[in-house]
C-alpha cells in the first residue's frame, strides 16, 4: 500500500506553490519514475485543473511506488512557466505534462534543452522529437449539450462565457451552436470573452449580464462553477458543468456536464515510457474512448429530450454523427462546408470563424 503525503514542498516565487506527492515507501534500485505536472490554475478550481489532479491521483493508484508526481499549480501562461518547466526537468522529472494551451512555445523551447525528458502538452499543436500533444474532443460533448439547449431554451437566446478565442474554445462554441440550431434554427448564441481562465467574480458578472439580456441557458468555457451559481440564483433554465460535474453548486440548474477524464491517456503514456515505446504524436480521443464523459442529466429534463441527447452521443460513438457535418454557413453568410462533407482535424485546429447564429 502506498502512503501519500501531500506537502507544500517548494515554492517557485510568484508561480505559486508546488505540491509534491511523494511515495514514502518508494525508492527502488533506480528510484521511482519522476513525473511533473504544470497547471495554469489551482487544483481546487472545481474544473479544468481539478480534472488533471484527479488523473494524477489515478496514476498514483495505478503505479504506486513506481512513480513520484510533482504537481505545480497556478503557473501563468507566460515566461514564468519556462522557469517552472526547466526547474522540473532539472529536478529529474522524466515526463512533464503541461496542461494549458498557452504553455506551448515554452514547452518547445525547454524540450530542446532536455532531449531525454519527455514533454506532453495538453490542447497544443506544436510537437517535436520529445514533445507530444494530447487533447480530448470536448466539442463532441458540446454537441450533446447543444442538443439539450436546442430543445430546452424558450427565449432562443443562449449566453456563452468564453476564456480566450483559441481554436479549442471556438470549436466548442461552433459545435454547440450547430447542434442547438439543428433543433431550433432561431437560436442565437451570444459570446462574452473574459480574457481569463480563472476570475470567478467576473464569470458571475458575465452570467448576470447575459441573463439580464434575455439568455435562459448559460454555457461557460472557463474553469469554475460561478456562472452556474448565478443561473441557479436567477432561476433560469440552466447551464452545464465544464470539466467536472458541478451539480453541487446548482442542483436545479445543472442540466448536465462535460467531464474530462485524463487518466486513460496518462496511464498509456507512462506505460509507453516504461516500455520504451513512447513516440511523439498527437492523441485526440473523445467520447468513444471515454476521455470525454457526459454527466448525469438533470431530472427536470423531459425524457424525450434526454433521448435526443443520448442519440447524438451514441451517434458520435459509432461514428454516424459528426458534429461538423455540412452544410455549415459562417456568421458572415459564407458557406464553409458543403452539404454532406465534414471538417478534418487540421481544419478544426485552424478554426477562426463562427457558425451562423453566433454573436461574438
Amino acid at each position: 500500500m502506498t502512503i501519500l503525503t501531500r506537502r507544500t514542498a517548494l515554492k517557485l516565487g510568484a508561480a505559486g506553490f508546488m505540491l509534491t506527492i511523494a511515495s514514502q515507501l518508494a525508492l527502488g534500485q533506480d528510484g521511482p519514475l519522476k513525473i511533473g505536472f504544470v497547471n495554469v490554475g489551482p487544483k481546487d478550481d472545481n474544473g479544468w485543473t481539478y480534472g488533471h489532479w484527479v488523473a494524477a491521483q489515478a496514476l498514483e493508484e495505478e503505479f504506486g511506488d513506481a512513480i513520484e508526481i510533482t504537481f505545480v499549480e497556478s503557473v501563468p501562461e507566460g515566461p514564468d512557466c519556462e522557469r517552472v518547466l526547466r526547474e522540473l526537468a532539472q529536478q529529474g522529472n522524466k515526463i512533464i505534462f503541461a496542461t494549458s494551451f498557452g504553455f506551448g512555445d515554452y514547452v518547445i523551447k525547454v524540450a530542446r534543452e532536455f532531449p531525454d525528458v519527455i514533454f506532453e502538452h495538453a490542447t497544443g499543436y506544436q510537437r517535436s522529437e520529445n514533445v507530444g500533444t494530447y487533447n480530448a474532443r470536448f466539442h463532441e460533448g458540446r454537441a450533446v449539450m447543444g442538443t439539450l439547449a436546442g430543445h430546452l431554451s424558450q427565449t432562443k437566446n443562449i449566453g456563452y462565457i468564453g476564456s480566450f478565442p483559441i481554436p479549442e474554445v471556438v470549436m466548442g462554441i461552433n459545435a454547440f451552436t450547430l447542434a442547438a440550431r439543428k433543433i431550433n434554427p432561431e437560436i442565437t448564441v451570444n459570446v462574452v470573452w473574459l480574457s481569463s481562465w480563472h476570475d470567478p467574480a467576473k464569470e458571475a458578472d458575465a452570467a448576470r449580464a447575459l441573463i439580464d439580456q434575455g439568455a435562459d441557458i448559460i454555457v461557460q468555457h472557463t474553469d469554475g462553477p460561478a456562472a452556474l451559481q448565478v443561473a441557479e440564483e436567477r432561476g433560469i433554465i440552466g447551464g452545464f458543468g465544464q470539466g467536472a460535474d458541478m451539480s453541487a453548486f446548482a442542483p436545479k440548474s445543472h442540466l448536465s456536464a462535460i467531464i474530462d477524464v485524463w487518466a486513460p491517456h496518462y496511464i498509456q503514456v507512462i506505460k509507453d515510457v516504461q516500455a520504451g515505446t513512447w513516440v511523439s504524436d498527437d492523441s485526440w480521443p473523445g467520447i468513444a474512448a471515454g476521455e470525454v464523459v457526459i454527466g448525469p442529466y438533470n431530472e427536470k429534463i423531459p425524457a424525450d429530450v434526454v433521448a435526443a441527447a443520448e442519440a447524438v452521443k451514441a451517434g458520435i460513438v459509432d461514428g454516424s454523427v459528426n458534429p461538423f457535418t455540412g452544410p455549415i454557413v459562417d456568421n458572415a453568410g459564407t458557406e464553409r462546408v458543403p452539404a454532406g462533407q465534414t471538417i478534418d482535424d487540421a481544419g478544426l485546429w485552424a478554426m477562426d470563424w463562427y457558425v451562423e447564429g453566433v454573436k461574438a
Binding site: 507544500t8 515554492k11 510568484a14 505559486g16 506553490f17 490554475g41 489551482p42 481546487d44 478550481d45 472545481n46 481539478y50 499549480e73 497556478s74 449566453g159 478565442p165 442565437t188 451570444n190 459570446v191 462574452v192 470573452w193 473574459l194 480574457s195 481569463s196 480563472h198 476570475d199 470567478p200 467574480a201 467576473k202 464569470e203 458571475a204 458578472d205 458575465a206 448576470r208 449580464a209 447575459l210 439580464d212 439580456q213 439568455a215 469554475g224 462553477p225 460561478a226 451559481q229 448565478v230 440564483e233 453541487a248 453548486f249 446548482a250 454573436k359 461574438a360
Partner: protein, 308 residues
Amino acid sequence: MNPDLLIPIIITLVGASTPILIAGLGELVVEKSGVLNLGVEGMMLIGAVVAFAVTYTTGNHWLAILCAALAATAASMIFAFLTLTLSASQVATGLALTIFGTGFSALFGQAYTGKPIAIFDSVFPDELENHPFWRVVFDHSPLVFFSLFMVVAVWWFLNKSRAGLILRAVGENDFSAHSIGYSVIKVRYAAVAFGGAMAGIAGSCFPLLLTPQWAERLTAGRGWIALALVVFAAWRPFRLLAGAYLFGLVMTIEVYTKASGSMGLFPSEFWAALPYLATIIVLVLISLRRSGNSAAPACLGKPFMPGQ
C-alpha cells in the same frame, strides 16, 4: 443598449465595486498614517476563505464577516510587528503578506472546495427587493450599505475627529507628532489593524456577495486594484467612492456590452483593457491639475526610528 437594462447594470456594478471600495477605504487610512501595506490582496484572500468556512459551518453571514475581519486583522498584525516594531521594509513585508495570504487561503480552503453556500442577499422585504424601480436602492447585500456608511465614517474620522487629526499628523510628520507626545507606533498599529479588518470584510464580499463558492485566488487581483484606487483617489474617501464605482462601471459595461452581442468596432481585448486605460487617463488629468504637488502623506512608506 436597451434602457431597461439600466437598473440591472447599476445593481451589478454596485456589487462589483463594493469589495474594492471597502479594501480601498482600509488602505486609505493605513496610508494616511504613513504606512504602505501591499498585503491587501493576501488579507482579502484570508478574509474570503474564513468567511466561506464560517458560513459553510454555521450558516451565519454576520458571524462570517466578523471572523473574516478578525482573521485578516491578525494577519495584518504580523505585518505591523515586522514593519513597525522591527522596522522591516514595508514594501517587501507587504508583498510577503500577499504571498502568505494566497498560500494560507489555498491550504485552509482545501476542505471547502466544491461546496456551495447561500448568498448574503438583501434583507429588505420582497416587495422592495423585487420592485421594478426601487430595487435599484434595496436589492443589495448589507455589505453594500456597510461600504457606503464607511465612506462617510472614514471621511468624518479623518477630517472632523481629533483622533483622525492625530493619525494624519503621524502620517505627515512622524517626528513632530512624536515630539509633542503622540505614540507614532501605537497610532500606526491601530491604522494597520483597521486596514486589515476592512481587507478581511472586502474579501468576505467574494463568497458572500459575488460568487458563493471557494476557489483558490478567488479575488483574482482585486486587492491590487484597491491599492491603485487609493492613489487614484488622492487619499480622499469620497473620491475613492467615485473611483471604485467608476472601476465597477467600466468592468460591468464591458460584460454587458459583450453580452448584447454588439461590441461593434472594438475587439474584446479593448474592453478588458479599458479599466486600466481609464486609470491612466484619470491619473494624467489629476497630475495636470495639481501641477506637481503630491497628495501623498509625506511619511508614506518610511519606517519610524526615533532613536536615530
